[in-house]
């Protein structure tokens, strides 16, 4: 062991002799740190949960609100209003089960120009209704047919496509009627009136009249007024070439629609078991025979209001509110760094060009929408770092001899003359070496950090909660879409200067947070080239709300860009 090693060893041993008495206040400091770390971890766990809750809650709220509106639409439109503004009693209702409207079999000589109804499946969940007139089971429910027709007006939502003619359904019957024997018509309105109505294109204002007439027809049916003729209001369509058809020539269903409805109580007055109350003609009963107080019509596709009772709209399924989008484009931006380590970098970080691609699914209303999707975004930044070097100066002392030419006087002898002492000398020219001290200095320049120009890239998979507001103008759609995002770190590439300025830290060694809350906002303009497909140009702003790094160095990501989108509207 050399003296130097022995010295090191002695120092080590000496230092190991030290004792450090435990102090409670030291532990209190550690406890505070542990507590802070625990809180930080809890907060980190909370954010993804909160984001998920927010997304889920917003979705549920949206569907709850829009769902309620739809239910309200149905319930208000399904019950026809009478002249006094109260709900007219329903005289007939479709079966409780899904009813497939039977294809009409035109009676011989029938001249109805409406096309035969296509197979239309309707969701009907209505209760059977007591018809006021006793109806013979052997004959088709001629008396009840108009009432059925009144209540089975098609939904106003079926506003597209060609006209459809539907035949009235026998209510509560499972066997097909052979032929109508009795027809009922609206009081005070003859075939000519009906034809006039039919020939006249129906407008919103005009829709009220036939609505009333159907209500009246229903009432007439309930009252059992004889001599009325049933006119199926479902037959004519607004603007369609439909002529009023006499009841006797009306097409009848080839077969009774299959349904599980309770049989209609055909007696006008029937005792309710156990209640002692007599069923009134307007009472409806449920499957157990209990009267139902309020008419509830939930036929979504029929959704017939009294207003549109005479205007059966075409049966074409409405366009779906769902749309799918795929998009891709370029982003300019990247990370902005701050914090104490950033001040020591002595390097610039400028914006870079990244890219983004994604897919979204949106539930689009008339002007607003909600949805989510997946975006893959890369945020690029350009790092410009200058070279840093360390200069070491090593000084060493050395000795040297310098030759000096000189004349040396040498004493060769001493002698005395007359008592005086003399010295005999000679001069010798010689060269002597003079010892000198010098210093050798060695300068070593160590490059601590090479200059570097590179692109750093950090990629995130972002899950946004998107809210949309838009306006449609012909084939063009203008809108704004945005919302919070939950970014999942997927990849990073590049390096950052070391705060000590003597190298670079690989971006993979920088402590990134795996989950970051962010935002996305974009405006879009789309052109629809057919009913389903549209293309759009979308300027976008994306970023992160907070710091995406753990530690003293802070990074906030932001980028602007342009996306091209392709959207498909489900049908």
């Amino acid at each position: 062991m050399s003296e130097q090693e022995r010295f090191d060893d002695l120092v080590r041993r000496k230092l190991e002799e030290r004792t450090f008495p435990f102090a409670e206040e030291d532990w209190q400091g550690a406890e505070r740190l542990i507590q802070a770390e625990r809180t930080r971890r809890r907060r980190r766990r909370f954010w993804p949960f909160a984001a998920a809750l927010l997304i889920g809650g917003a979705g549920i709220a949206y569907f709850a609100v829009t769902g309620k509106e739809r239910t309200l639409d149905r319930s208000t439109s399904a019950v026809p209003m009478d002249r006094t503004g109260t709900h007219a009693p329903l005289t007939s209702a479709p079966s409780a089960a899904d009813v497939t409207a039977p294809a009409p079999v035109p009676a011989p000589g029938a001249e109805a120009t409406a096309a035969p109804a296509a197979e239309v499946t309707r969701s009907v969940a209505a209760t059977p209704i007591i018809t006021p007139e006793p109806v013979s089971t052997s004959t088709p429910a001629a008396a009840t047919r108009p009432a059925a027709a009144v209540s089975r007006t098609p939904s106003s939502s079926l506003a597209q496509g060609g006209p459809e003619r539907r035949t009235p359904e026998p209510v509560g019957r499972h066997e097909a009627p052979a032929a109508p024997t009795t027809t009922v018509t609206e009081p005070g309105r003859n075939d000519a009136d009906m034809a006039r109505i039919d020939e006249h294109p129906v407008t919103d204002k005009e829709e009220r009249a036939p609505a009333r007439s159907t209500s009246e027809a229903a009432r007439a049916t309930q009252e059992g007024r004889p001599g009325t003729t049933a006119v199926d209001p479902a037959m004519p369509t607004g603007g369609a070439q439909v002529t009023a058809v006499p009841a006797s020539t009306m097409p009848q269903p080839a077969a009774a629609p299959p349904h599980d409805a309770q049989p209609v109580v055909e007696s006008g007055a029937q005792m309710l078991g156990g209640t002692g109350r007599t069923l009134e003609p307007t009472d409806r009963v449920d499957s157990t025979g209990t009267p139902i107080e309020e008419a509830v019509a939930v036929d979504s596709t029929l959704a017939a209001s009294g207003d549109t009772a005479a205007v059966p709209l075409p049966l074409v399924k409405p366009a779906s509110p769902w749309e799918l989008s795929a998009m891709g484009g370029l982003l300019w931006g990247g990370g902005r760094y701050s914090g104490e380590p950033r001040d020591l970098w002595d390097a610039d970080v400028t914006t870079g060009m990244g890219w983004s691609a994604g897919a979204e699914v949106m539930h689009m209303g008339r002007n607003v929408g909600i949805g989510t999707g997946v975006h893959y975004s890369t945020y690029d930044e350009r790092l410009l770092a200058l070279e840093r070097s360390l200069t070491e100066l090593d000084v060493e002392r050395f000795y040297f001899l310098t030759p000096v030419d000189t004349t040396v006087t040498l004493g060769t002898d001493t002698f005395s003359i007359n008592g005086q002492l003399f010295h005999s000398v000679i001069s010798v020219d010689t060269t002597i070496n003079v010892l000198g001290v010098g210093y050798d200095s060695t300068t070593t320049v160590t490059v601590l950090r090479a200059a570097r120009e590179q692109v750093n890239r950090v990629s995130y998979l972002e899950i946004p909660l998107l809210l949309d507001a838009h306006l449609t103008q012909g084939r063009w759609m203008f809108g704004l879409r945005g919302g919070p995002t939950l970014g999942v770190l997927t990849a990073r590439r590049g390096a950052l200067p070391d705060p000590s300025q003597d190298g670079y830290t690989d971006l993979n060694d920088v402590q990134f947070r795996s989950l970051v809350l962010g935002y996305t906002a974009r405006a879009y303009i789309r052109y629809r080239w057919n009913s389903a497909w549209s293309v759009g140009l979308e300027p976008v702003l994306r970023g992160q709300f907070g710091n995406s790094l753990d530690g003293e160095l802070k990074r906030r990501t932001m980028a602007v860009g342009v996306l091209l989108s392709l959207t498909y509207r489900l049908r």
Binding site: Q4, F7, E17, F22, R38, L390, T391, L448, D502
Partner: protein, 187 residues
């Protein structure tokens, strides 16, 4: 000696177990921190940071690595990381030549019986970087190559810092020897 049971309890984040572990590790961690920090307050703060790291990375520890050794390494890394963050080195640093060496035999002899507090005071006088490198090399036993990697310096610089620290210490010790000799009457 830290038992596996205590580690398991710490993994379950039991406060009592954490306290026990802190008490057990306190001398070791404090010994490291006081060597690298100038005062006790800073040393305690650094020790607590290191202890938190030990707790949070407890699950990552490989069981075959002795716990004390692992804790020691974490503590040293914490100290070094902190120094790297705080370091504001000038772009062109000029390092002076190490001072003259003193008579080592005398110095070593004196070192054997001197007070440890006196050595601590001498160590405090060594420049921070040199003290750090000396600690890493002479006390903690890291090779120059590793020190260079840890601190982001060249190996040559690391050697220079060790040499510089030694020289400063030895000169201080030589002065102390001279004073000691002056006090002691010669026989």
């Amino acid at each position: 000696m830290v038992s596996d049971q205590l580690i398991a309890r710490c993994l379950r984040e039991e406060p009592k177990a954490q306290y026990e572990l802190y008490r057990l590790l306190h001398p070791l961690l404090m010994g490291i921190c006081t060597r690298y920090e100038r005062n006790r307050q800073d040393a305690v703060a650094r020790m607590n940071q290191g202890f938190l790291k030990i707790l949070t990375h407890l699950a990552d520890r490989r069981p075959e690595v002795p716990f004390e050794l692992w804790s020691r390494r974490i503590m040293i890394n914490t100290v070094i990381d902190d120094h790297r963050r705080q370091k504001q080195r000038k772009a062109h640093e000029t390092l002076e030549a190490p001072p003259e060496r003193a008579d080592l035999a005398e110095v070593n002899s004196y070192l054997g019986h001197m007070e440890v507090q006196e050595l601590e005071r001498m160590l405090e006088r060594v420049p921070a970087m040199s003290r750090q490198v000396f600690n890493l090399f002479a006390i903690d036993g890291f090779p120059h190559a590793e020190i260079a990697g840890m601190l982001g310096i060249s190996e040559g610089t690391s050697k220079w810092h060790v040499s510089n620290a030694r020289s400063i210490l030895q000169q201080a010790l030589a002065r102390a020897v001279a004073v000691d000799r002056a006090r002691t009457p010669s026989p």
